[in-house]
Assembly symmetry: C2
Homo-oligomer: 100 residues x 2
């Protein structure tokens, strides 16, 4: 499980990044925070794409992308106050496992 969050000023570049993350199978947990399990092959391409974003002409010096590999402990101990933004069971694959 990974968490990827970003501060990107340019609207177009922000949208491009969000689309990349969704296409890689990540879930939008908050507006600029994505989480999910990424397969190794998908991850290699995504990782390269993230670095391409950072050398685009729309990238600002104050922009940043944070990538955190999460431990199971973090997923189990998470807390969300307010809107349950995603189906955590679906995101963590538990529901899928149960249905097999």
């Amino acid at each position: 499980m990974h968490l990827i969050s970003y501060d990107i000023e340019n609207d177009r570049l922000r949208l491009r990044l969000a689309k990349l993350l969704i296409r890689a199978g990540l879930y939008r947990v908050q507006y600029s925070v994505f989480m999910g399990d990424i397969r190794e092959t998908v991850w290699k391409r995504l990782y390269a794409d993230l670095h391409k974003i950072a050398v685009s002409s729309d990238w600002q010096p104050t922009d940043s992308i944070l990538i955190l590999p999460l431990h199971q402990y973090t997923v189990d101990q998470r807390e969300v106050i307010g809107q349950a933004v995603v189906d955590w069971d679906e995101m963590t694959g538990k529901l899928h496992t149960l249905m097999l």
Copy 2:
């Protein structure tokens, strides 16, 4: 180490939350993403304050606060593309330990 991120629509409430997190000793890693070590006593009060935010009249149904306790693995394996938003050694207390 904790990560706290938020989606809050109301400017005033967002500012109030950011101030709470900074006062609790967290570092602003991105605009709406904070990280840091929180002492147990501070944490209890912060936790209560976060829930107070969520029952304020400015809180919107689509607002959310995400709280993730992080494992050391996550801190060690982090990656930041772009601006080095915080001094990670300072945040994780390594520098402080070295200087003692």
